[in-house]
């Protein structure tokens, strides 16, 4: 039984990758460690439950990864996706430490596998968890609990007692009541605020009512809010979030990876008024994948429809929900709740503009439209072979960028830049230091793993001082 009256060396708030890496590290240094996780046991581990791979630098073929992914290349990729919005010192250090992350995770019982089918291009840069993120979490929990880390589920931290730059205690709410838990060091690893619709509404207004949250409903940013209220230095644009196109039928929260749609490039995308609004093929996966959430968020009603014809059937990873099908475009429009004449006109104009070419999804091909105000620059083929299929789309939020600034020992920085005495941060809650914008597949877990270990070391070192 967890004894909340006891004083712990290290208190870790959260329940995902970052928390476990910190907890195991601190425990291996000999600290008493308590993990407070807001979610019930099944949902433990926040968005880590939904992950499948981790990006790591390596100098040659490593484990199940092919080739080399040198630090410099990782850094170049990061600079490119963030447009330079990254702390170079922290980022380079993280990339360097990522090199030993896979073997460290392996030593904690995490199994890896060859890259998944349909994830071409990541076999060199990313290591895939055997069985996915929940399998990875289960292994880390087994190891952590086996080492004597204590963990409490259904235990939301609702407040922190902070004295200046020093953490004193955390107020936690459990089924049996509210408790103040004292510890010498604190590691805050409680994720972002993507599941907090009220908070999202501050920036997005009522549009946020139409957002779907891809991951856990428990990442409500409570710890981040408390830290901000206690005068820590923020990092990352609070108005920004990573968003992709999801099927409307996805559950409001926690639908995970399966509700994303890869159908977009194989046809056209129209809004509620049956109008196209963006070049469906401006760029290749994965960049394309990540822009559509924000594009749809900007459309009326935050809804859009991806439409293709019979010729494109079976070309993309089949989504879980069935396509809405009809033999004619006007019939399809009725089923989608759109204006039949308007959709027919959009499709006719599009078909008219398609120029012949050689269809090839492995490269930016020469199938494109000509004469449209809004072109489709690649993979354009006429929508003329029935039955026609459609998927209704909404924006799906993956994570938010706002976080707490840290130094290279994982210490939370107070407003003005001075480090906190005993507060550390890891994972999504500090990811904005490294990923100021954009996204690189698998970097969320790299940031969480490395920063978790760094924070665990720091928290342990402080506890022994």
């Amino acid at each position: 039984m967890v004894d909340l009256a006891k004083r712990y060396d290290v208190l870790v708030i959260g329940g995902g990758n970052a928390v476990l890496c910190a907890a195991i590290t601190a425990r291996r240094r000999g600290c008493s460690v308590l993990v407070l996780e807001a979610a019930p046991k099944f949902y433990r581990g926040g968005n880590t439950r939904h992950t499948r791979n981790i990006r790591v630098a390596h100098d040659g073929p490593s484990g199940l990864m092919t080739g080399a992914y040198p630090e410099e290349e990782f850094w170049a990729d990061l600079q490119r996706v963030t447009g330079g919005e990254t702390d170079e010192h922290l980022a380079r250090r993280m990339i360097r430490l990522s090199k030993e992350l896979q073997s460290w995770l392996g030593a904690q019982g995490v199994h890896f596998q060859a890259p998944l089918q349909g994830s071409i291009g990541l076999d060199r840069t990313n290591a895939f968890f055997l069985g996915g993120g929940r399998a990875m979490l289960n292994a880390l929990y087994r190891t952590a609990l086996g080492l004597g880390v204590e963990a409490l589920y259904d235990a939301e931290v609702v407040n922190l007692v902070v004295d200046g730059n020093r953490f004193v205690s955390a107020i936690v709410e459990t089924a049996t009541g509210r408790f103040a838990v004292e510890a010498t060091s604190l590691v805050a690893a409680a994720g972002g605020f993507e599941a907090n619709l009220e908070w999202l509404k501050q920036y997005w207004g009522d549009k946020a009512d139409n957002f779907i949250i891809r991951g856990t409903p428990y990442n409500r940013g409570r710890v981040l809010r408390i830290l901000l209220d206690n005068g820590i230095e923020p990092v990352g644009d609070p108005t920004q979030c990573h968003a992709v196109a999801l099927d409307v039928r996805a559950p409001r929260f926690d639908g995970g990876i399966i509700t994303r749609l890869d159908s977009i490039v194989y046809g056209i995308v129209v809004n509620r008024d049956s109008q196209r609004f963006y070049d469906e093929d401006e760029d290749m996966w994965p960049k394309r994948y990540a822009i559509w959430g924000r594009l749809i968020a900007a459309e009326p009603g935050q809804i859009a429809f991806s439409i293709h014809d019979a010729r494109m059937e079976g070309r993309f990873i089949p989504p879980p929900f069935p396509a809405i099908k009809a033999d004619t475009i006007p019939e399809l429009a009725v089923k989608l709740g759109l204006d039949g004449a308007a959709l027919a006109a959009t499709v006719a104009a599009f078909n008219e503009a398609v120029r012949p070419g050689t269809f090839d999804t492995t490269k930016l091909d020469d199938c494109r439209t000509e004469g449209l105000e809004l072109p489709k620059t690649h993979w354009a083929t006429p929508l003329d072979r029935p039955p026609f299929s459609a998927y209704p789309l909404r924006p799906g939020i993956t994570f938010t960028y706002l976080g707490t600034r840290v130094d290279d020992r994982g210490r939370i920085l107070m407003a003005g830049g001075a480090p906190s005495a005993n507060m550390f941060a890891a994972g999504e809650i500090m990811a904005g230091n490294i990923l100021g914008k954009g996204y690189l597949a698998g970097i969320g877990m790299t940031i969480g793993g490395v920063s978790g270990r760094v924070a665990g070391e720091g928290a342990a070192a402080h506890a022994f001082n």
């Binding site: 939904h50 289960n138 509620r272 990873i317």
Partner: protein, 382 residues
Amino acid sequence: MRSIDELSPPPAFPLWAKSHSTAALDEADRVATICNSCRYCEGLCAVFPAMETRTIFAAGDLNYLANLCHGCGACYDDCQFSPPHEFAVNVPKTFETLRAESYQAYAWPRAFAPAFERNGLVISLVAAASVAVFVLGFVGLGDPAVLFTTQTGAGAFYRLMPHEAMVALFGAAFLYAIIAIAMGLRSFWRDSGGSGVDIAASLKALRDAGTLRYLDGGGAGCDISGKATPDRRRLYHHFTSYGFLLCLASTSVATLYHYLLGREAPYPWYDLPVLLGTAGGVGLIIGPVGLLVAKWDRNPALRDAKRLGMDVAFLVMLLLTSLTGLLLLGLRATPAMGILLALHLGVVFSLFVTMPYGKFVHGLYRFAALLRFAGESRTRGS
């Protein structure tokens, strides 16, 4: 806050398609469709790579996938969508249910298919009846002076039941089992779209079946979460299946002895049929007991309670076969031999005739599925 259903536009798009003839097939289709868009479990076993080569799942495909699944349980613990998640993905249980349904669907002749409904009861009744008939037959037809006295030396058994009668009865039962199972397998193979197989695929399937390659969660272990004891079902299954094969070998050698060498049972303890039979019998005790215990220890969420009777009945039948066989061996030089022989033969006879209508068929459907998979992987070039 408004819920998502109230938002515009409101058409109710269908969630999961229902197109199959049974609820088990519909659920398997739903789960396979979800897995196919997730693929996180791809490295765990053969099932997920096999799913990924399909976008539409016909009944035959689903029966194939269900029989390819070894029920290790790893993908349940690994799944972010397992219950209580609203997607409620439970691959091991869904496929366990469908597997049992497929045994029934392919049973031959059709009239006996209902035997799978209450399989535990059916098997118990058949076994009890068979034992009763043998005991009564021995008592009624045999010489009581022989039945209750010590019989030793070559041909001791046949003084209780003539060898020809034994061969005719058991040969017929065995032949019937083989034909009935073969007919079922044929329907399964056709339905799953199986075509010709080559030697390499057959060797691979034999290896995968013989080592139970896919009963280990892709190397990370099976259903391991929250359990104090490790999952040793693979070991116990080896004891069981190899024990069974050894017993079969023992009987075959004995038959050869009888017809080729003119040597009659019982044989001395150091002779091949006895050595094989004893080793097999011991395996058939350790294995089924281990598997029964594992069944109790298994995460109840993974279990289809309705199918428990079938599994237990088969394991108990194997256990009874080996127990009566070993008892017979141990006590064959005592007056108890006669009744024990009747008991043993009764159990073995019922084991044979119920083979096509019980858990035994899982091994053959599993093997056929592995064969199918081996062929498929080759044409896919992986």
